[in-house]
Amino acid sequence: MMELLHEIGVQAGTLIGSTLRGATPLILCALAGCLAERSGVVDLGLEGKMLLSAFAAASVGAATGSWVPALAVALALGVSMSLVQGWGCVTHQGDQVVMGMALTMTAAGLTVVLGGAWFGLGGQTPQVGDGARLTGWFTDAAQSVQALPVLGPMLGLGLMGHNGLVYWTLLCVLLVWVLLFHTRFGLRLRAVGENPLMVDAAGVSVRGLRHQALALNGMLAGLAGTYLVLALNANFIPHMTAGRGYMALAALIFGKWNPLGALAACLLFGFLDALAIRLQGAPWPEMLGGGTVPVQAIQALPYLLTVVLLAGFIGRARAPAALGVPYLKER
């Protein structure tokens, strides 16, 4: 009996742990998207920002063997992509959707071209050294709680021993939530996404607010990219973001443009992904047709759920009113 309970604890703990690890880049990206979209700028460039900063973090991490410059360069690149985006879409009222696609497509090509030319590994970067990898936190505590029955492995394997960025990300959710809903800046930022004319009439710069939102967005997306190569993987692989930027966008919509809702959606999506990996090749009950579990169906679920939600069949997701609309100040 105890054996079985312990086994359940271990299984649950492992699943919780991989959910959390897989959800972290999604959460960071969804927060980045949240800031941009709440200010009225659609961001389809998340995928590209994450990809380019992951590449930068991996290159610098491999060259220097330390995570500090890797993180710095990744953040700088994330922010500079956001600046280009802001210059085109906010300052010059360019099409936001097209801009996002442009950033993502350019980043997808550029990372492989530069990686191939610099490292000659077919677009991959060398492994970042151990010194640059993010190490686990609370590993000792994780070891000691394992002794507890059932709850021990769940806590130890599920919630402890992750690298610092996982915990920082959870803190970021709280910070972004406070920023958006409990500060003057947040109120203005949300107002500029709903009714920029009103914000302008109140004498606050619409462009300034959107540029600031995008700068923060770039940092968070850069952080997500850094996480991919310094924590999840050990090097950069071409197209390694694998649609996470779009999935984060889906999570943002699923969470109704709220950081806490987005966190829940990212955890759900991360859980589905972890589950799909676990169930790969597992048998499907004989009474339901036999064969193996259709893993693709589980992997498709986040996108399907988002479409259903967007269609208003389960609740209603309402986008910021001025989302995607460039603001032209009348002269």
């Binding site: 099409d95 442009a102 071209v113 030319a117 779009y246 919509i253 996108y303 069949f313």
Partner: protein, 376 residues
Amino acid sequence: MSTNASLPRWMDLLLLPLMNLALAMAVASAVVWAIGLEPGPVIGLLFKGAWGSASGISYTLYYTTTFVFTGLAVAVAFHAGLFNIGGEGQAAMGGLGTGLVALAALQWMPGLPATILVPAMVLGAMLFGAAWAAVPGALQAWRGSHVVITTIMFNFLAAALMGYLLVEVLKEPGTMDLQSRAFEPAARMPGVHECLLALGVDWPATPLNLTAVLAVLAIAAAWWLLWKSRSGYDLRASGHAPAAAQYAGIDPRRQVMLAMLVSGAFAGLVGVNEIAGVHQRLLPDFVAGAGFAGIAVSLIGRNHPLGIALASLLFGTLYQGGAELAFEVPGFSRDMVFTLQGLIVLFAGALSTVLVGPLARLHRRWSSGAAQGVWP
């Protein structure tokens, strides 16, 4: 992306796209230079690879065919005020439609002649592509969910569906590769070299097939639909002035559906070019980014069928030339072409508004100077 009223027509339609293209090329050249290659010879080799030989030309036209379809898929939706990012998924579904027709024939009606099978495969591709675009269209028309987001989601759903079908249902038994059984010999779009051989012309065997003729027809059909037919007028009216169109009695929902159905059918034809024309079996990932390339094609072609034909030729040149370059120049990756593609979307699409102001000012200065010359 809209027509710029402050610029004369020739500047707006010709000069602006060319300047944006030049800017994208300049940045791409800088990247080429940064990785230690000479941009000049690289561009020369690229054009030689694409147009310097009979087989090069054939490959270029084969890529062009695919881009015509995905470019039109973006453009038709654009004229109805919709941004269809789902070309990738719609093209994949088109391949599925083509493949299912061929596999069904193989299973239940072997020995059908090509004259029945090939048109059925073309229809299958168009139907599946249109159906895959119709769902986001209907959700936009009746439920108000934004077509940009839903078409992105549908790209992933298409990939998952293809993966599932190829792993669980259609996979050829006894092989490790993720692919269906080979089609019958009749289930095949004839190659251009075979047709030329029948006419007595010796031409190298390449993937270029008669789908290219369909691409020419598609350009003509899109032009006729958009500018010469009543439905096209309604479609453009509801895209450019939704309120006025609705007031004039044009049902916006109908226009959304029409635009997405036509877009999806065009995108689906990519499946004919790739699956029926080249592979003759169903594969995953055969679209390989062509759907996204369609965005760049449509932008640089200013959403006009003729412009799209020219832009597709440009992209066909880049893809074929890039493939040759990657083969000949060590250190050159084909992804350079994808980078350039992204830069073209950046300059011709996202930053297209940046140059308008300075250009308009320049033009005003010129024309006012000329006016002063005539009437001092």
